[in-house]
């Protein structure tokens, strides 16, 4: 069941009615939340339910073992076991093929013949996201930030809560579990903001991301050799827009849908392409994941507490993990490491910035740095989008192929690219305009405004909408 479909919203209106009707009976309400989340997941593949059930069960008890152990050493052992098991489950489903191939290549180079077992493994959609939730829960219990959840029902809901199940935001147990207590929130805060998020998400996904994917990005990235330099250049920038619009759309709809059910979710995107350097970018892009990396990888590695060189090393390792989490491929790891170097430059920039004396020079530097950061981020996406390193270099090579053909370019792709930049700059203003308008209108007119906007989105969207990009991670 996909978010931008009639089926989802038909399901969701049914969920909303029961969600608000059952809140008076907290136990029934929570049972209902779990059943609806499992039903949502089962619509993808019933077999995935066994995976999420086992992971939930394992982590529910592992946190208890961590908490109940009196000796620090035992706590550490249980924590290590729980992390290793979670990572192994993720590794088995997501990276088995990659590690098998890599190991075979390595062994062959060393003169050994190897034939590891071939397995055709289906990655359960959303696994990478709920495994991160499970790991953060165990670590937070170990750090005594939270107590282990006593109710298995609440914990199972935390792992499987359907609006955020497939692609985040990655909520912490400490943020989510209290919202399940005593029947949860009895009112919707900022109803119009939630509708604005859902409508904005639909527009970004159905109109912008789908149009650019179908009409430019997919074709150019599949066979760059057969495209003009201009098409390749536009496809690189278009992909930067596609991935933002696609992923932030999912987050916005997830946050909006959860909001209408009375749940508060953390912000996941904050105009990332307006970042002034890479550090700023990661404070604005996939924020819940960046914070997860900071709290559970970067800081445990020592963060910035062990000297300059160690800080840079920690940054690189963290971004290596980020790359690997996104996909089983050298291109993802390379993308992560490139961002790691970008973050190191961001650290150095901060020191340089302190030396600038006037406000004017600081402003000028920020504009320049923002411009460079944006273009580098777009360029780095090439490695993220390409099927492998060779394809990524094909794209870059084609950018400089002065022999390339000239080909027709749809003018709308140019409009969409320009229009998308306006959204980066004025997205929040457009959102608050909608919120202000809706809050002044009577209910019948609010319905008409929302309907009108949905119809515009449907009219502008292509006949066939590609799936969300982040589902494959």
């Amino acid at each position: 069941m996909l978010f931008p479909t009639f089926t989802f919203f038909a399901f969701f209106v049914f969920i909303l009615i029961l969600n608000w009707s059952l809140k008076q009976k907290p136990l029934l309400w929570r049972i209902f939340l779990l059943i609806s989340s499992y039903f949502f997941y089962a619509t993808w593949n019933v077999r995935f339910l066994s995976v999420i059930f086992i992971i939930s069960l394992f982590n529910f008890y592992s946190a208890f073992l961590i908490d109940k152990s009196f000796q620090e050493k035992r706590k550490k052992i249980f924590l290590a076991i729980s992390i290793v098991v979670n990572v192994l489950i993720l590794g088995f489903f997501k990276y088995y093929g990659f590690f098998r191939e890599s190991a075979e290549i390595l062994l062959n180079k060393l003169g050994f013949s190897s034939n590891f077992l071939f397995l055709n493994i289906i990655l359960p959609v959303g696994l990478s996201f709920y495994i991160l939730r499970a790991i953060s829960y165990n670590i937070d219990v170990y750090r005594k930030k939270i107590l282990p959840e006593k109710s298995w029902l609440d914990f199972f809901i935390y792992i499987s809560f359907f609006p955020q199940l497939l692609a985040g935001p990655i909520m912490r147990a400490g943020e989510f579990l209290p919202q399940l207590k005593n029947g949860g929130s009895k009112a919707i805060e900022n109803i119009n903001e939630n509708f604005a998020l859902i409508l904005g998400g639909l527009f970004k996904k159905i109109v912008i991301a789908s149009y650019l994917t179908v009409n430019l990005v997919d074709d150019v990235f599949a066979v760059p050799q057969n495209h003009s330099q201009l098409a390749v250049l536009l496809a690189i920038y278009a992909y930067a827009i596609v991935i933002y619009c696609d992923f932030s759309a999912y987050s916005d709809i997830a946050i909006g849908a959860a909001g209408l059910m009375g749940f508060k979710s953390p912000l996941n995107f904050n105009a990332p392409y307006l970042a002034i350097d890479f550090r700023d970018f990661w404070r604005r892009w996939h924020i819940t994941f960046s914070k997860w990396l900071r709290d559970y990888v970067y800081i445990p590695l020592g963060g910035n507490r062990k000297g300059k060189l160690r800080t840079y090393f920690n940054v690189l390792i963290t971004m290596f993990v980020s790359g690997l989490w996104h996909g089983a491929g050298i291109n993802f790891i390379f993308w992560g490491i490139l961002h790691g170097f970008g973050l190191i430059v961001g650290h150095l920039r901060e020191k340089y910035l302190q030396q600038l004396s006037t406000n004017f020079s600081r402003t000028l530097e920020k504009i320049f740095s923002g411009f460079i950061t944006f273009n580098l981020v777009c360029f780095f996406w090439v490695f993220f989008r390409a099927e492998n390193m060779a394809s990524a270099f094909d794209i870059i090579k084609q950018l400089f192929n002065w022999q390339a053909n000239i080909e027709p370019i749809a003018v709308y792709t140019l409009y969409f690219i320009i229009f998308s930049f306006l959204i980066f700059a004025f997205g929040k203003k457009i959102q608050s305009l909608f919120v202000n308008l809706q809050s002044k209108l009577p209910l019948p007119l609010q319905v008409l405004v929302v309907s009108f906007l949905v119809i515009i989105v449907v009219k502008l969207g292509p006949d066939i909408i590609p799936p969300f990009i982040y589902f494959k991670f």
Binding site: F6, L16, V450, V454
Partner: protein, 334 residues
């Protein structure tokens, strides 16, 4: 009046939007409803869209909605900047412009028969997900390595010939022929077609019936007519077997139709992929040995689409087949 609570308000808004939008977009909604897996939801949605159409007719609004659809369709047709300018090293001249669609169609038997295709070769690759990813891009990458070739590719997820109400490939092929002026076409359809057909006049033809086979054959025929009347040599790619036996059986039946229809045309070559991805026992396999004997994955996890080595096998075999009619010469590097 008591103020409505926000939860109730949110339910009312979504519920009414769910009525208004499908009412306004009833035609599109009808097309989407047919594809819904849940029979209860599908029947509900179909009844709703049918009622919407009737209401529009009764209120005399059908014309307005038709105009509105036409406006948006026209609006979405993007103008283009630049025209094709092809490097001389690859393509010395554009193909002769003799493929106007307005030409009267000739009976198949009187069509000029092209045994050998003359360069330059302007390829059109069209079809479903097979063309969109994996096989299509791999073939495109391979073809552009030869002299005097130009390749255009159009692949779309979840499309086929069974549901022209959802996506009309016959119309799309006409557009593509007009736009690109190809002289060789490689087409793949069928992966999404083992379902009830729905004609443009909304007639439903149930899958598995003889009527279904006849109607499907007609659609294949129409595409072949469009292509061959425009002097385009066609390579019709058959479907491979699949991990699921029932799906394999369905694909085998479609292959029979493709082969039978293709054989009616002298300019159509049916290219079977079935046996190319079988193991030495003639069975489906996720893995096949490469030249060195090392096992390589050939299928994706869906057990249908080919993986990198699988596409390599298919493309290599197809290029060899093409060489019988097309003089594919590698581009000499300077």
């Amino acid at each position: 009046m008591e103020k409505i609570s926000n939860p109730l308000k949110s339910v009312i808004i979504i519920f009414l939007v769910l009525l208004i939008v499908p009412f306004y977009e009833s035609k599109r909604m009808e097309v989407l409803s047919v594809g819904m897996e849940n029979p209860v939801l599908r029947n509900l949605a179909l009844s709703f869209t049918s009622a919407s159409e009737k209401i529009k007719l009764t209120l005399g609004l059908a014309g307005f909605f038709q105009q509105d659809d036409n406006f948006w369709q026209a609006f979405k047709e993007s103008p283009q900047i630049f025209e094709y300018s092809v490097k001389t090293k690859q393509l010395s001249s554009l193909p002769p412009s003799n493929n106007s669609l307005s030409q009267p169609s000739l009976p198949t038997s009187t069509l000029p028969q092209i045994s050998k295709i003359e360069p330059p070769y302007n390829f059109l690759l069209a079809g479903d997900s097979f063309i969109l990813e994996g096989f299509g891009p791999a073939l495109e990458k391979e073809l552009i390595l030869y002299k005097d070739t130009m390749v255009h590719r159009k692949g779309l997820y979840s499309t086929g010939l069974s549901r022209p109400d959802y996506f009309n490939w016959n119309e799309e092929i006409k557009k593509l022929v007009d736009l690109y002026n190809p002289n060789v076409a490689v087409v793949v359809f069928g992966l999404n077609d083992a379902q009830d057909q729905r004609t443009l006049d909304k007639k439903i033809i149930h899958y598995g019936t003889e009527e279904w086979n006849i109607e499907y054959g007609k659609r294949v025929d129409e595409i072949l007519d469009i292509l061959t009347e425009n002097k385009i040599s066609v390579y019709w790619i058959g479907l491979p077997n699949a991990r699921s036996q029932s799906f394999s059986d369905k694909m085998a039946k479609l292959d029979l139709i493709f082969k039978a229809e293709c054989q009616k045309y002298s300019d159509c070559v049916y290219f079977s992929t079935w046996e190319l991805l079988l193991d030495s026992n003639g069975k489906y396999s996720d893995f096949l040995p490469d030249e060195t004997g090392k096992m390589q994955p050939v299928r994706r996890t869906d057990g249908i689409h080919p993986k990198a080595y699988g596409t390599e096998i298919l493309v290599r075999a197809l290029i060899n087949k093409m060489k019988e009619k097309i003089e594919l010469q590698p581009i000499e590097t300077e």
